[in-house]
Symmetry: D2
Subunit: 144 residues, 4 copies
Amino acid sequence: MSTFAPPDPDYATRVQRSFAEQRAMVTIGASLGAVDPGAVDVVLPFREDLTQQDGFLHAGIVAAVADSACGYAAHTLMPATARVLSVEFKLNLLAPAVGERLEARARVIRAGRTITVCRADVVAITGKEEKLVATMTGTMMTVV
Amino acid sequence: MSTFAPPDPDYATRVQRSFAEQRAMVTIGASLGAVDPGAVDVVLPFREDLTQQDGFLHAGIVAAVADSACGYAAHTLMPATARVLSVEFKLNLLAPAVGERLEARARVIRAGRTITVCRADVVAITGKEEKLVATMTGTMMTVV
Amino acid sequence: MSTFAPPDPDYATRVQRSFAEQRAMVTIGASLGAVDPGAVDVVLPFREDLTQQDGFLHAGIVAAVADSACGYAAHTLMPATARVLSVEFKLNLLAPAVGERLEARARVIRAGRTITVCRADVVAITGKEEKLVATMTGTMMTVV
Amino acid sequence: MSTFAPPDPDYATRVQRSFAEQRAMVTIGASLGAVDPGAVDVVLPFREDLTQQDGFLHAGIVAAVADSACGYAAHTLMPATARVLSVEFKLNLLAPAVGERLEARARVIRAGRTITVCRADVVAITGKEEKLVATMTGTMMTVV
């Protein structure tokens, strides 16, 4: 997983700058975690104003953090001037998204010139316990 | 599409009440549109604080309104006491999500006792013009 | 759906020639139906040697005809020298795939320079009756 | 992954018997590999009569072995009298499916009473070398 060689040595700065421009992430209170070649984490503290009717985090909010994580995991492996676009993603909801915070852990599973495929596991963390609540597979595109 | 006979005649009231409890929808400013048997629309006025790095609505926000629309389209066909859960969804992003507002139009394509499959087309509307920006297929589960 | 202008006027011949080279289609007995700009049908007569354990056509066989239909629907809108590759597809199984024959009806819902998104509805036909048994959304790539 | 406790101690026999009834698997020449709780492999020797127009194994054939592997991985964790049905699956094609044989390795990532979610990685093997060519996420249903 960590064997990717990023073409842009400043990939982390570039990801941080772009993430800061995702106003939706600011609005929901998400922040970047670890940023490594082909691997990006996004963290979301639980907030009651982001829930669905049962008090779990809304599936769309789960999708938002997983998609951002996937996009930036792909972005770490792109040239300095490239933009990244989500082509599609699929999210399986595995358990109620409740806990102190969510963490979406995206990993590139295939990096191509145009198409990069990522997987993100989303865990809910409470104290030292974590539980897998969702998993995403997404297709990201390099736009030059 | 409109040939579904809802088992609960008060389906619309039930959907409206549940939607109002989706605090994430309130937070992002989404509201219910038309609610018919097997067909629910959700409307989201454009807001800059919900965008990604290019100024388009974030794919997770698009997913959120499409998922809510799918869930409630399924919910219209469920018994009065049932709850609805998203099992999974897949979203294809087709064009930048920009405009005055988004509208997610979910339609049930197969209603079963346990599993209901929905499709939602998401259009961006500006004046009288609308453009398809995303499409979702989702699997919803009846929980009794 | 029929408003696409194919860049290659010989799209139908090109699709027929390429389909004939899909040896998997020959092996399972599938054939091309209608070929129009952005719309291709593939027909598969029921065969017991293609079933799963309950006597329905195997979901992978359903996927095979839907994927070929999607790929060639995309192909009709590509330049004469382009190849088409499946990036990903998702198939929802809606009802048992039984009947005299299957028909996968693929339609392009977004044609881009690199990425084309298609939907295929798969119906099982018995006499004059048809039933929707599966639906696919797929992402196809133009390779030049 | 191997911490699942199968409710039916004869799960392996049950899977083998059911797999033998999947006539599509016999037709394409696929066979069962390892069968463990929550983990099933399916092997497919390369055959030219299963290819698409470029000489790679057809994506539908890749889907067929991955779907069977997912279904039986789920089946190992079901009660003795239960049947398994595929609700949906998504397949990402990552590299051309060429080699001496394919192996689809399915693992349960969430086992529920009604819904089981599996992932299958499909590798192409040539000599001692293997390459990831596709990955599937699928939703399987227990039918009692």
